[in-house]
């Protein structure tokens, strides 16, 4: 794991250069008031994607979990070079998530998109003040809830082994016809299996949505790693008190439907249910 060396943060005399830093926002939580209390404990020892300690910046009853990052990570060519390194990106993504997760374990948490960097702490306070209404509404939505990710894949039926002898035996006189009939039967089987899987995915989604407060079904995956593409890719916002029921339902439904493969991840901080904060952005 590569962390930044931190050299860009210090001048020749080893003095911090305040001008050459950025303030990275990871999440917004309610102002805990007592910073030495629960929130302080939650963030103690937690480090952000520049390996920097994370602190709370407060305004208007809200608090932002932030870290001061060196200028080289706040933009420009050096950041570009870092981002071109997949190993570093994976490190940074996990670090961002660790901070959000630490907040999420202790208090209602509105996750921010990775790479939200301000020049000054004062700008973060302005953000809290200007978006206070939306942020408070978002906190109310996620309070006491978590996100579960579900992906449903079509479990393709095993390809029937095409025995050379079958073609030979069935079509000694008309091998071409036998071959075409076999191909047609295979196509029909595949189509039937696909329809069965789609139906299973729809039933599963309906059953899970009934247990959730909200559902997000993002459009086609933007990432090439999601191959094969899932038939259903959904996030469910679930009351914490109902999480056991929800995961139990996923297990039961997965066992019922042999046509699909189900993958469940979570509980996540509510990354997918905080879109409301962006409303009203000029």
């Amino acid at each position: 794991m590569r962390g930044p060396n931190g050299s860009a943060m210090r001048g020749p005399n080893g003095n911090p250069m305040a001008e050459s830093t950025g303030v990275c926002v990871y999440a917004v939580v309610p102002d805990p008031g007592d910073r030495a209390g629960r929130a302080g404990t939650a963030l103690a020892g937690v480090r952000g994607w520049a390996s920097e300690p994370v602190r709370l910046v407060t305004a208007d009853g809200l608090a932002a979990a932030v870290g001061t990052i060196p200028a080289e990570l706040a933009g420009g060519d050096r950041l570009q070079r870092r981002l071109a390194d997949p190993g570093w990106l994976a490190f940074a993504v996990r670090a961002h998530h660790r901070v959000v997760e630490a907040c999420f374990r202790a208090m209602p948490t509105v996750p921010f998109r990775m790479g939200t960097v301000y020049q000054h702490e004062a700008s973060v306070r302005e953000l809290l003040t200007e978006r206070a209404t939306q942020l408070r509404a978002a906190l109310a939505v996620v309070d006491g809830r978590c996100e579960w990710g579900v992906k449903v894949y079509h479990r393709a039926p095993p390809e029937p082994a095409r025995q050379p002898s079958t073609v030979g035996a069935g079509g000694a006189d008309r091998p071409g016809t036998a071959y075409l009939l076999q191909r047609r039967a295979e196509r029909a089987n595949r189509e039937q299996a696909r329809v069965a899987a789609a139906l299973a995915a729809a039933r599963l989604d309906a059953a899970l949505a009934a247990l959730a407060v909200a559902v997000e079904r993002p459009a086609a995956a933007g990432y090439p790693g999601d191959a094969p593409a899932p038939m259903l890719r959904a996030s469910y916002l679930v009351d914490a008190a109902r999480s056991d029921q929800f995961t139990g339902a996923v297990r039961a439904l997965a066992a019922q439907h042999a046509a699909v493969q189900v993958r469940l991840t979570g509980p996540w901080p509510a990354y997918s249910f905080v879109g409301g904060v962006e409303a009203g952005v000029p």
Partner: protein, 62 residues
């Protein structure tokens, strides 16, 4: 990892497949404009790195 194949499908954060993590951290969460100096997801180099990451790690299969 699949529910059908595994009695314990709930993945701890450290073991969360990278694709699910990237999907949330880089594609969701609050985006604000204004004084923000950077939104990483907009940078093309990220996409190139993502492609490399995800083609090397395929947690989905199995």
């Amino acid at each position: 990892m699949t529910v059908a194949a595994d009695p314990e499908p709930v993945l701890l954060p450290e073991h969360v497949p990278l694709v699910d993590l990237l999907d949330r951290v880089l594609a969701r969460g609050v985006v604000v404009t204004g004084e923000v100096t950077l939104a990483i997801a907009d940078i093309d180099l990220v996409r190139i790195s993502l492609r490399a990451l995800l083609s090397s790690v395929r947690p989905e299969s199995g």
